[in-house]
Protein backbone atom coordinates (compact mmCIF):
# COMPACT_ATOMS: atom_id res chain seq x y z
CA UNK A 1 0.00 0.00 0.00
CA UNK A 2 1.38 3.41 -0.91
CA UNK A 3 2.03 6.07 1.69
CA UNK A 4 -0.87 8.13 0.30
CA UNK A 5 -3.21 5.16 0.79
CA UNK A 6 -1.95 4.63 4.35
CA UNK A 7 -2.54 8.27 5.26
CA UNK A 8 -5.89 8.25 3.42
CA UNK A 9 -7.02 5.31 5.54
CA UNK A 10 -5.94 7.02 8.75
CA UNK A 11 -7.69 10.26 7.73
CA UNK A 12 -10.88 8.43 6.82
CA UNK A 13 -10.89 6.59 10.15
CA UNK A 14 -10.33 9.89 11.97
CA UNK A 15 -13.21 11.49 10.06
CA UNK A 16 -15.56 8.55 10.59
CA UNK A 17 -14.82 8.21 14.30
CA UNK A 18 -15.39 11.92 14.95
CA UNK A 19 -18.88 12.58 16.37
CA UNK A 20 -19.06 15.82 14.38
CA UNK A 21 -18.94 13.90 11.10
CA UNK A 22 -21.95 11.81 12.07
CA UNK A 23 -23.85 14.91 13.16
CA UNK A 24 -23.22 16.38 9.69
CA UNK A 25 -24.15 13.13 7.95
CA UNK A 26 -27.33 12.86 10.05
CA UNK A 27 -28.30 16.45 9.29
CA UNK A 28 -27.65 16.09 5.57
CA UNK A 29 -29.65 12.84 5.30
CA UNK A 30 -32.46 14.46 7.29
CA UNK A 31 -32.31 17.51 5.03
CA UNK A 32 -32.54 15.47 1.83
CA UNK A 33 -35.11 13.11 3.36
CA UNK A 34 -37.33 16.00 4.45
CA UNK A 35 -36.96 17.58 1.02
CA UNK A 36 -37.99 14.32 -0.62
CA UNK A 37 -40.95 13.78 1.64
CA UNK A 38 -42.44 17.25 2.09
CA UNK A 39 -41.26 19.47 -0.75
CA UNK A 40 -40.50 17.45 -3.83
CA UNK A 41 -43.22 14.81 -3.63
CA UNK A 42 -46.22 17.14 -3.11
CA UNK A 43 -45.11 19.85 -5.56
CA UNK A 44 -43.95 17.62 -8.37
CA UNK A 45 -46.55 14.98 -8.18
CA UNK A 46 -45.80 11.36 -7.62
CA UNK A 47 -44.63 10.69 -11.15
CA UNK A 48 -42.33 13.65 -11.85
CA UNK A 49 -39.11 12.02 -10.79
CA UNK A 50 -37.05 14.24 -13.06
CA UNK A 51 -38.12 17.32 -11.10
CA UNK A 52 -37.38 15.47 -7.86
CA UNK A 53 -33.89 14.69 -9.05
CA UNK A 54 -33.25 18.26 -10.18
CA UNK A 55 -34.46 19.72 -6.86
CA UNK A 56 -32.58 17.16 -4.81
CA UNK A 57 -29.34 17.77 -6.70
CA UNK A 58 -29.51 21.54 -6.17
CA UNK A 59 -30.25 21.07 -2.48
CA UNK A 60 -27.30 18.66 -2.23
CA UNK A 61 -24.95 21.28 -3.69
CA UNK A 62 -26.24 24.02 -1.39
CA UNK A 63 -25.89 21.68 1.54
CA UNK A 64 -22.27 21.09 0.56
CA UNK A 65 -21.53 24.82 0.79
CA UNK A 66 -22.38 24.66 4.48
CA UNK A 67 -21.05 21.21 5.36
CA UNK A 68 -17.87 20.77 3.30
CA UNK A 69 -15.95 23.52 5.16
CA UNK A 70 -16.92 21.78 8.42
CA UNK A 71 -15.54 18.48 7.10
CA UNK A 72 -12.31 19.94 5.74
CA UNK A 73 -11.59 22.43 8.54
CA UNK A 74 -9.52 19.96 10.57
CA UNK A 75 -7.54 18.55 7.62
CA UNK A 76 -4.43 20.71 7.91
CA UNK A 77 -5.34 23.43 10.42
CA UNK A 78 -5.44 20.87 13.22
CA UNK A 79 -2.19 19.20 12.09
CA UNK A 80 -0.47 22.58 12.15
CA UNK A 81 -1.93 23.56 15.52
CA UNK A 82 -0.94 20.30 17.21
CA UNK A 83 2.44 20.07 15.44
CA UNK A 84 1.69 16.64 13.92
CA UNK A 85 2.36 18.11 10.47
CA UNK A 86 6.07 17.94 11.41
CA UNK A 87 5.72 14.20 11.96
CA UNK A 88 3.98 13.71 8.62
CA UNK A 89 6.45 15.77 6.61
CA UNK A 90 9.41 13.93 8.10
CA UNK A 91 7.66 10.53 7.90
CA UNK A 92 8.73 10.68 4.93
CA UNK A 93 5.76 12.10 3.05
CA UNK A 94 5.96 14.70 0.31
CA UNK A 95 3.72 17.73 0.75
CA UNK A 96 1.55 16.84 -2.25
CA UNK A 97 1.06 13.30 -0.89
CA UNK A 98 -0.31 14.74 2.36
CA UNK A 99 -2.68 17.02 0.46
CA UNK A 100 -3.93 14.23 -1.81
CA UNK A 101 -4.57 11.83 1.08
CA UNK A 102 -6.43 14.44 3.09
CA UNK A 103 -8.41 15.60 0.10
CA UNK A 104 -9.37 12.02 -0.75
CA UNK A 105 -10.68 11.28 2.75
CA UNK A 106 -12.65 14.54 2.95
CA UNK A 107 -14.10 13.97 -0.54
CA UNK A 108 -15.20 10.48 0.47
CA UNK A 109 -17.06 11.87 3.50
CA UNK A 110 -18.51 14.63 1.32
CA UNK A 111 -19.88 11.96 -1.02
CA UNK A 112 -21.56 10.26 1.94
CA UNK A 113 -23.46 13.52 2.54
CA UNK A 114 -25.53 13.17 -0.64
CA UNK A 115 -25.24 9.44 -1.36
CA UNK A 116 -28.85 8.95 -0.21
CA UNK A 117 -30.11 10.89 -3.22
CA UNK A 118 -29.96 7.97 -5.71
CA UNK A 119 -31.51 5.77 -3.02
CA UNK A 120 -34.60 7.99 -3.09
CA UNK A 121 -34.91 7.30 -6.80
CA UNK A 122 -34.89 3.59 -5.96
CA UNK A 123 -37.59 4.21 -3.34
CA UNK A 124 -39.61 6.13 -5.93
CA UNK A 125 -39.25 3.24 -8.35
CA UNK A 126 -40.49 0.84 -5.70
CA UNK A 127 -43.47 3.15 -5.21
CA UNK A 128 -44.40 2.82 -8.86
CA UNK A 129 -42.31 5.54 -10.53
CA UNK A 130 -40.12 5.02 -13.55
CA UNK A 131 -36.90 7.05 -13.08
CA UNK A 132 -34.72 7.78 -16.07
CA UNK A 133 -31.35 6.43 -14.91
CA UNK A 134 -29.30 8.50 -17.37
CA UNK A 135 -29.99 11.83 -15.63
CA UNK A 136 -29.60 10.11 -12.25
CA UNK A 137 -26.10 8.97 -13.16
CA UNK A 138 -25.29 12.37 -14.68
CA UNK A 139 -26.47 14.09 -11.47
CA UNK A 140 -24.31 11.79 -9.34
CA UNK A 141 -21.37 12.49 -11.59
CA UNK A 142 -21.98 16.25 -11.33
CA UNK A 143 -22.30 16.07 -7.55
CA UNK A 144 -19.02 14.15 -7.40
CA UNK A 145 -17.36 16.86 -9.51
CA UNK A 146 -18.84 19.76 -7.55
CA UNK A 147 -17.96 17.98 -4.30
CA UNK A 148 -14.36 17.58 -5.45
CA UNK A 149 -14.07 21.30 -6.25
CA UNK A 150 -15.67 22.38 -2.97
CA UNK A 151 -13.55 19.90 -0.99
CA UNK A 152 -10.38 21.17 -2.68
CA UNK A 153 -11.39 24.73 -1.73
CA UNK A 154 -11.98 23.57 1.86
CA UNK A 155 -8.60 21.81 2.02
CA UNK A 156 -6.95 24.98 0.74
CA UNK A 157 -8.75 27.06 3.40
CA UNK A 158 -7.55 24.61 6.05
CA UNK A 159 -3.98 24.87 4.75
CA UNK A 160 -3.82 28.64 5.28
CA UNK A 161 -5.25 28.61 8.81
CA UNK A 162 -3.93 27.26 12.09
CA UNK A 163 -7.33 27.34 13.73
CA UNK A 164 -10.18 25.02 12.75
CA UNK A 165 -12.93 27.62 13.16
CA UNK A 166 -11.02 30.13 11.06
CA UNK A 167 -10.47 27.43 8.43
CA UNK A 168 -14.23 26.69 8.41
CA UNK A 169 -15.08 30.39 8.11
CA UNK A 170 -12.62 31.00 5.25
CA UNK A 171 -13.79 27.80 3.56
CA UNK A 172 -17.43 28.91 3.85
CA UNK A 173 -16.66 32.31 2.32
CA UNK A 174 -14.65 30.77 -0.52
CA UNK A 175 -17.18 28.06 -1.39
CA UNK A 176 -20.09 30.51 -1.21
CA UNK A 177 -18.19 33.01 -3.35
CA UNK A 178 -17.19 30.33 -5.85
CA UNK A 179 -20.74 29.10 -6.31
CA UNK A 180 -22.65 32.38 -6.20
CA UNK A 181 -20.23 35.00 -7.58
CA UNK A 182 -21.42 34.38 -11.17
CA UNK A 183 -25.02 35.08 -10.06
CA UNK A 184 -24.25 38.17 -7.95
CA UNK A 185 -22.68 40.19 -10.78
CA UNK A 186 -25.08 42.91 -12.12
CA UNK A 187 -26.48 42.01 -15.56
CA UNK A 188 -24.98 45.15 -17.18
CA UNK A 189 -21.44 43.95 -16.39
CA UNK A 190 -21.62 41.77 -19.44
CA UNK A 191 -17.88 41.13 -19.82
CA UNK A 192 -17.38 40.09 -16.18
CA UNK A 193 -20.56 38.06 -16.22
CA UNK A 194 -19.49 36.38 -19.43
CA UNK A 195 -16.28 35.19 -17.81
CA UNK A 196 -17.88 34.17 -14.54
CA UNK A 197 -20.84 32.39 -16.09
CA UNK A 198 -18.50 30.07 -17.98
CA UNK A 199 -17.43 28.81 -14.55
CA UNK A 200 -20.91 28.67 -13.00
CA UNK A 201 -20.73 25.43 -11.02
CA UNK A 202 -24.41 25.58 -10.03
CA UNK A 203 -25.46 25.89 -13.64
CA UNK A 204 -23.24 22.96 -14.59
CA UNK A 205 -24.83 20.81 -11.87
CA UNK A 206 -28.35 21.89 -12.89
CA UNK A 207 -27.70 20.86 -16.46
CA UNK A 208 -26.25 17.53 -15.42
CA UNK A 209 -29.40 16.82 -13.40
CA UNK A 210 -31.31 17.22 -16.66
CA UNK A 211 -29.12 14.55 -18.17
CA UNK A 212 -26.64 16.80 -19.99
CA UNK A 213 -23.00 15.89 -19.40
CA UNK A 214 -20.81 18.69 -20.71
CA UNK A 215 -17.15 17.91 -21.28
CA UNK A 216 -16.26 21.58 -20.80
CA UNK A 217 -17.89 21.52 -17.37
CA UNK A 218 -16.02 18.34 -16.41
CA UNK A 219 -12.73 19.89 -17.57
CA UNK A 220 -13.51 23.03 -15.57
CA UNK A 221 -14.22 21.02 -12.42
CA UNK A 222 -11.08 18.91 -12.75
CA UNK A 223 -9.00 22.05 -13.39
CA UNK A 224 -10.44 23.94 -10.41
CA UNK A 225 -9.92 20.95 -8.16
CA UNK A 226 -6.28 20.61 -9.26
CA UNK A 227 -5.72 24.36 -8.93
CA UNK A 228 -6.93 24.55 -5.32
CA UNK A 229 -4.99 21.42 -4.38
CA UNK A 230 -1.90 23.02 -5.89
CA UNK A 231 -2.58 26.16 -3.83
CA UNK A 232 -2.91 23.99 -0.72
CA UNK A 233 0.39 22.25 -1.49
CA UNK A 234 2.12 25.59 -2.00
CA UNK A 235 0.62 26.86 1.24
CA UNK A 236 1.99 23.82 3.08
CA UNK A 237 5.39 24.37 1.49
CA UNK A 238 5.40 27.98 2.68
CA UNK A 239 7.02 26.83 5.94
CA UNK A 240 10.22 26.31 3.94
CA UNK A 241 10.41 29.93 2.91
CA UNK A 242 9.18 31.58 6.11
Amino acid sequence: MSRVAILFRRELMAQLTAPGTWVLLGLSWLWLGALFRWQVMPSAGHGDLQFMLWQGTLHAVNMQILFVPLITMRCLAEEKRSGTIEMLVTAPLADHEIIIAKFGAAWFVDTLLWCVLPLYMLVARQAGGDPDWGPVLAACFALLGAGAVLTAIGVFASSIATNQLLAAFVGLLLTFGFLYAPRLVPPDWSFTQGILSSGDLLKQVEESARGIVDLVAVTFQVSMCALFLLFATRSLEARKWA
Partner: protein, 298 residues
Protein backbone atom coordinates in the same frame (compact mmCIF):
# COMPACT_ATOMS: atom_id res chain seq x y z
CA UNK B 1 27.03 10.56 9.87
CA UNK B 2 26.28 14.31 9.86
CA UNK B 3 28.27 17.03 8.08
CA UNK B 4 27.11 20.63 8.30
CA UNK B 5 29.04 23.26 6.37
CA UNK B 6 28.56 27.02 6.58
CA UNK B 7 24.87 26.61 7.16
CA UNK B 8 22.78 29.76 7.59
CA UNK B 9 19.04 30.02 8.22
CA UNK B 10 17.30 33.35 8.05
CA UNK B 11 13.71 34.03 8.97
CA UNK B 12 12.16 37.37 8.04
CA UNK B 13 14.63 39.89 9.48
CA UNK B 14 16.26 37.39 11.84
CA UNK B 15 19.24 35.09 11.46
CA UNK B 16 18.58 31.94 13.47
CA UNK B 17 21.75 30.11 12.36
CA UNK B 18 24.86 31.90 11.17
CA UNK B 19 27.48 29.96 9.16
CA UNK B 20 27.22 26.88 11.33
CA UNK B 21 29.67 24.03 10.70
CA UNK B 22 30.10 20.82 12.64
CA UNK B 23 30.20 17.09 12.09
CA UNK B 24 28.98 14.05 13.96
CA UNK B 25 30.68 10.67 13.68
CA UNK B 26 28.62 7.49 13.39
CA UNK B 27 27.96 5.63 16.63
CA UNK B 28 28.21 8.61 18.97
CA UNK B 29 25.68 10.28 21.25
CA UNK B 30 25.98 13.99 20.58
CA UNK B 31 24.40 16.75 22.63
CA UNK B 32 23.37 19.90 20.81
CA UNK B 33 23.51 22.43 23.61
CA UNK B 34 22.29 25.98 23.79
CA UNK B 35 19.99 28.34 25.61
CA UNK B 36 16.37 28.75 24.53
CA UNK B 37 16.32 30.55 21.17
CA UNK B 38 19.93 29.64 20.34
CA UNK B 39 18.89 27.91 17.10
CA UNK B 40 18.84 24.26 18.22
CA UNK B 41 15.34 23.42 16.97
CA UNK B 42 15.97 25.20 13.67
CA UNK B 43 19.12 23.11 13.16
CA UNK B 44 17.30 19.85 13.94
CA UNK B 45 14.41 20.80 11.63
CA UNK B 46 16.90 21.35 8.82
CA UNK B 47 18.59 18.01 9.51
CA UNK B 48 15.21 16.26 9.52
CA UNK B 49 14.30 17.93 6.19
CA UNK B 50 11.33 19.80 7.65
CA UNK B 51 12.76 23.02 6.25
CA UNK B 52 15.71 23.91 4.03
CA UNK B 53 18.63 26.16 5.02
CA UNK B 54 18.95 29.65 3.50
CA UNK B 55 22.60 28.93 2.66
CA UNK B 56 25.12 26.17 3.20
CA UNK B 57 24.91 22.42 3.11
CA UNK B 58 23.81 19.74 5.55
CA UNK B 59 24.44 16.06 4.77
CA UNK B 60 23.05 13.13 6.71
CA UNK B 61 24.45 9.69 5.96
CA UNK B 62 26.04 11.21 2.86
CA UNK B 63 22.71 12.54 1.52
CA UNK B 64 22.01 16.22 1.00
CA UNK B 65 19.05 17.31 3.13
CA UNK B 66 17.67 19.54 0.35
CA UNK B 67 18.29 17.57 -2.84
CA UNK B 68 18.00 14.07 -1.33
CA UNK B 69 15.45 14.73 1.38
CA UNK B 70 13.52 11.49 0.91
CA UNK B 71 16.67 9.37 1.39
CA UNK B 72 17.58 11.38 4.49
CA UNK B 73 14.11 10.93 5.96
CA UNK B 74 14.36 7.16 5.53
CA UNK B 75 17.49 6.86 7.66
CA UNK B 76 16.51 9.19 10.49
CA UNK B 77 14.10 8.92 13.37
CA UNK B 78 12.95 12.33 14.53
CA UNK B 79 11.20 13.38 17.72
CA UNK B 80 10.14 17.06 17.72
CA UNK B 81 10.17 19.01 20.98
CA UNK B 82 6.41 19.12 21.49
CA UNK B 83 6.04 15.33 20.89
CA UNK B 84 3.11 15.69 18.51
CA UNK B 85 0.99 12.53 18.41
CA UNK B 86 -2.51 11.58 17.28
CA UNK B 87 -4.24 11.50 20.64
CA UNK B 88 -7.31 9.73 19.23
CA UNK B 89 -5.32 6.59 18.39
CA UNK B 90 -4.22 3.70 20.58
CA UNK B 91 -0.49 3.24 21.15
CA UNK B 92 -0.11 0.11 19.01
CA UNK B 93 -2.39 1.44 16.27
CA UNK B 94 -0.40 4.66 16.08
CA UNK B 95 2.95 2.89 15.94
CA UNK B 96 1.65 0.51 13.27
CA UNK B 97 0.41 3.47 11.21
CA UNK B 98 3.77 5.21 11.59
CA UNK B 99 5.72 2.08 10.72
CA UNK B 100 3.75 1.64 7.50
CA UNK B 101 4.11 5.33 6.68
CA UNK B 102 7.87 5.03 7.12
CA UNK B 103 8.06 2.20 4.63
CA UNK B 104 8.06 -0.87 6.90
CA UNK B 105 6.34 -3.58 4.86
CA UNK B 106 3.03 -4.93 6.15
CA UNK B 107 4.45 -8.33 7.06
CA UNK B 108 7.21 -6.78 9.20
CA UNK B 109 5.23 -3.91 10.71
CA UNK B 110 3.66 -5.92 13.53
CA UNK B 111 7.02 -7.27 14.67
CA UNK B 112 8.59 -3.81 14.44
CA UNK B 113 5.81 -2.36 16.59
CA UNK B 114 6.16 -5.10 19.19
CA UNK B 115 9.94 -4.55 19.26
CA UNK B 116 9.67 -0.82 20.01
CA UNK B 117 6.78 -1.26 22.42
CA UNK B 118 8.94 -3.63 24.42
CA UNK B 119 12.05 -1.46 24.01
CA UNK B 120 10.33 1.68 25.23
CA UNK B 121 8.53 -0.14 28.06
CA UNK B 122 5.05 0.46 26.73
CA UNK B 123 3.79 -3.12 26.93
CA UNK B 124 1.15 -2.33 29.56
CA UNK B 125 0.03 0.78 27.71
CA UNK B 126 -0.15 -0.67 24.21
CA UNK B 127 -3.96 -0.60 24.06
CA UNK B 128 -4.37 2.78 25.77
CA UNK B 129 -5.47 5.88 23.92
CA UNK B 130 -2.48 8.19 23.50
CA UNK B 131 -4.59 11.08 24.80
CA UNK B 132 -4.92 9.26 28.14
CA UNK B 133 -1.16 8.79 28.69
CA UNK B 134 1.06 10.83 31.00
CA UNK B 135 3.65 13.19 29.53
CA UNK B 136 6.47 10.74 30.22
CA UNK B 137 4.57 7.90 28.56
CA UNK B 138 3.84 10.09 25.53
CA UNK B 139 7.53 10.90 25.35
CA UNK B 140 8.26 7.16 25.21
CA UNK B 141 5.63 6.72 22.48
CA UNK B 142 7.37 9.51 20.57
CA UNK B 143 10.74 7.78 20.93
CA UNK B 144 9.16 4.45 19.92
CA UNK B 145 7.78 6.21 16.83
CA UNK B 146 11.23 7.56 16.00
CA UNK B 147 12.66 4.04 16.35
CA UNK B 148 10.01 1.96 14.65
CA UNK B 149 11.71 1.82 11.22
CA UNK B 150 15.10 1.10 12.80
CA UNK B 151 16.84 4.33 11.71
CA UNK B 152 20.60 4.81 11.64
CA UNK B 153 20.32 8.27 13.21
CA UNK B 154 18.00 9.35 16.00
CA UNK B 155 17.32 13.10 16.28
CA UNK B 156 15.64 14.07 19.55
CA UNK B 157 14.64 17.66 20.27
CA UNK B 158 14.58 18.33 24.02
CA UNK B 159 13.57 14.75 24.87
CA UNK B 160 13.44 15.33 28.64
CA UNK B 161 11.84 18.76 28.59
CA UNK B 162 8.87 19.08 30.94
CA UNK B 163 9.33 15.67 32.56
CA UNK B 164 9.47 15.07 36.30
CA UNK B 165 12.77 13.75 37.76
CA UNK B 166 11.73 10.06 37.64
CA UNK B 167 10.54 10.29 34.05
CA UNK B 168 13.67 12.22 33.12
CA UNK B 169 15.91 9.47 34.48
CA UNK B 170 13.82 6.87 32.66
CA UNK B 171 14.12 8.68 29.31
CA UNK B 172 17.80 9.39 29.90
CA UNK B 173 18.49 5.70 30.51
CA UNK B 174 16.58 4.80 27.37
CA UNK B 175 18.64 7.26 25.30
CA UNK B 176 21.80 5.85 26.86
CA UNK B 177 20.78 2.32 25.77
CA UNK B 178 19.89 3.51 22.28
CA UNK B 179 23.22 5.28 21.95
CA UNK B 180 25.00 1.94 22.24
CA UNK B 181 23.62 0.81 18.89
CA UNK B 182 23.10 3.92 16.73
CA UNK B 183 24.01 7.58 16.34
CA UNK B 184 21.95 9.89 18.52
CA UNK B 185 21.77 13.68 18.21
CA UNK B 186 19.81 15.30 20.99
CA UNK B 187 19.24 18.93 21.76
CA UNK B 188 18.88 20.16 25.29
CA UNK B 189 19.38 23.18 27.47
CA UNK B 190 19.52 21.00 30.59
CA UNK B 191 23.29 20.59 30.78
CA UNK B 192 23.58 17.92 33.47
CA UNK B 193 21.43 15.77 31.16
CA UNK B 194 23.92 16.17 28.34
CA UNK B 195 26.80 15.51 30.69
CA UNK B 196 25.22 12.24 31.77
CA UNK B 197 24.26 11.10 28.28
CA UNK B 198 26.49 12.52 25.56
CA UNK B 199 29.99 11.50 24.53
CA UNK B 200 30.30 14.59 22.33
CA UNK B 201 28.75 18.05 22.50
CA UNK B 202 28.16 20.92 20.11
CA UNK B 203 27.57 24.22 21.90
CA UNK B 204 25.54 26.78 20.00
CA UNK B 205 24.95 30.34 21.14
CA UNK B 206 23.03 33.03 19.26
CA UNK B 207 23.02 30.95 16.09
CA UNK B 208 26.74 30.20 16.01
CA UNK B 209 28.68 27.10 17.00
CA UNK B 210 31.01 28.08 19.85
CA UNK B 211 32.49 24.66 20.62
CA UNK B 212 32.34 21.14 19.23
CA UNK B 213 34.34 18.41 20.94
CA UNK B 214 34.25 15.29 23.08
CA UNK B 215 32.55 16.05 26.38
CA UNK B 216 35.55 14.94 28.46
CA UNK B 217 38.09 16.98 26.48
CA UNK B 218 35.89 20.07 26.62
CA UNK B 219 35.59 19.75 30.37
CA UNK B 220 39.36 19.33 30.67
CA UNK B 221 40.10 22.25 28.36
CA UNK B 222 38.04 24.53 30.53
CA UNK B 223 39.22 22.96 33.79
CA UNK B 224 42.25 23.74 36.00
CA UNK B 225 45.27 21.79 37.27
CA UNK B 226 45.68 20.83 40.87
CA UNK B 227 49.11 20.42 42.45
CA UNK B 228 49.49 18.86 45.88
CA UNK B 229 52.88 18.98 47.52
CA UNK B 230 54.19 18.40 51.03
CA UNK B 231 55.05 21.15 53.48
CA UNK B 232 54.12 24.81 53.58
CA UNK B 233 53.33 26.91 50.51
CA UNK B 234 56.33 28.07 48.47
CA UNK B 235 57.28 31.72 48.99
CA UNK B 236 56.73 32.62 45.33
CA UNK B 237 53.27 30.97 45.37
CA UNK B 238 51.81 33.78 47.44
CA UNK B 239 49.77 35.02 44.46
CA UNK B 240 48.55 31.58 43.37
CA UNK B 241 45.35 30.18 44.84
CA UNK B 242 46.46 27.71 47.43
CA UNK B 243 45.22 25.96 50.47
CA UNK B 244 47.62 24.82 53.22
CA UNK B 245 46.18 22.03 55.27
CA UNK B 246 48.32 20.21 57.85
CA UNK B 247 51.61 19.19 56.28
CA UNK B 248 50.40 19.51 52.68
CA UNK B 249 49.53 22.35 50.33
CA UNK B 250 47.10 22.31 47.42
CA UNK B 251 47.75 24.82 44.62
CA UNK B 252 45.31 25.67 41.80
CA UNK B 253 47.05 26.29 38.45
CA UNK B 254 45.27 27.67 35.39
CA UNK B 255 47.21 25.56 32.86
CA UNK B 256 49.24 22.38 32.61
CA UNK B 257 52.41 24.41 32.02
CA UNK B 258 51.84 26.50 35.13
CA UNK B 259 51.25 23.32 37.14
CA UNK B 260 54.48 21.72 35.85
CA UNK B 261 56.51 24.85 36.61
CA UNK B 262 55.08 25.03 40.09
CA UNK B 263 55.81 21.32 40.66
CA UNK B 264 59.42 21.80 39.54
CA UNK B 265 59.81 24.74 41.91
CA UNK B 266 58.38 22.62 44.74
CA UNK B 267 60.88 19.83 44.06
CA UNK B 268 63.75 22.32 43.96
CA UNK B 269 62.58 23.64 47.34
CA UNK B 270 62.77 20.12 48.78
CA UNK B 271 59.03 19.42 48.80
CA UNK B 272 57.70 16.16 47.51
CA UNK B 273 55.01 16.41 44.80
CA UNK B 274 52.10 14.16 45.68
CA UNK B 275 49.67 14.98 42.87
CA UNK B 276 49.46 17.00 39.66
CA UNK B 277 46.07 16.41 38.02
CA UNK B 278 43.54 18.02 35.74
CA UNK B 279 40.29 19.02 37.43
CA UNK B 280 37.56 19.04 34.77
CA UNK B 281 34.84 21.65 34.78
CA UNK B 282 31.20 20.76 34.77
CA UNK B 283 29.57 21.13 31.37
CA UNK B 284 27.37 23.82 32.87
CA UNK B 285 30.42 25.89 33.84
CA UNK B 286 31.98 25.32 30.42
CA UNK B 287 28.79 26.44 28.73
CA UNK B 288 28.48 29.56 30.88
CA UNK B 289 32.09 30.47 30.20
CA UNK B 290 31.69 30.01 26.45
CA UNK B 291 28.42 31.96 26.44
CA UNK B 292 29.85 34.85 28.45
CA UNK B 293 32.98 35.07 26.29
CA UNK B 294 30.74 35.08 23.18
CA UNK B 295 28.68 37.88 24.72
CA UNK B 296 31.88 39.80 25.46
CA UNK B 297 33.10 39.40 21.90
CA UNK B 298 29.76 40.52 20.42
Amino acid sequence: MIQVENLTKRYAGFTALDRVSFSVAAGTVVGFLGANGAGKTTMLRILSCFMPPSEGVARVGGFDTVREGQQVRRIIGYLPESVPLYTDMRVHEYLHFRARLKGVVATDAKAAVERVISRCRLVEKRRNLIGALSKGQRQRVGIADALVHDPRLLILDEPTSGLDPDQRIEVRNLIHELGAERTVLLSTHILPEAEATCSHVVIIHRGRVRASAATASLRSAFGHWRLVHSGAPLPDAANAAHDAHGDRTTVRCESQEAGAAHAAAAVRAGRSVMELSCQGQTLEAVFLEIASSAEGAA
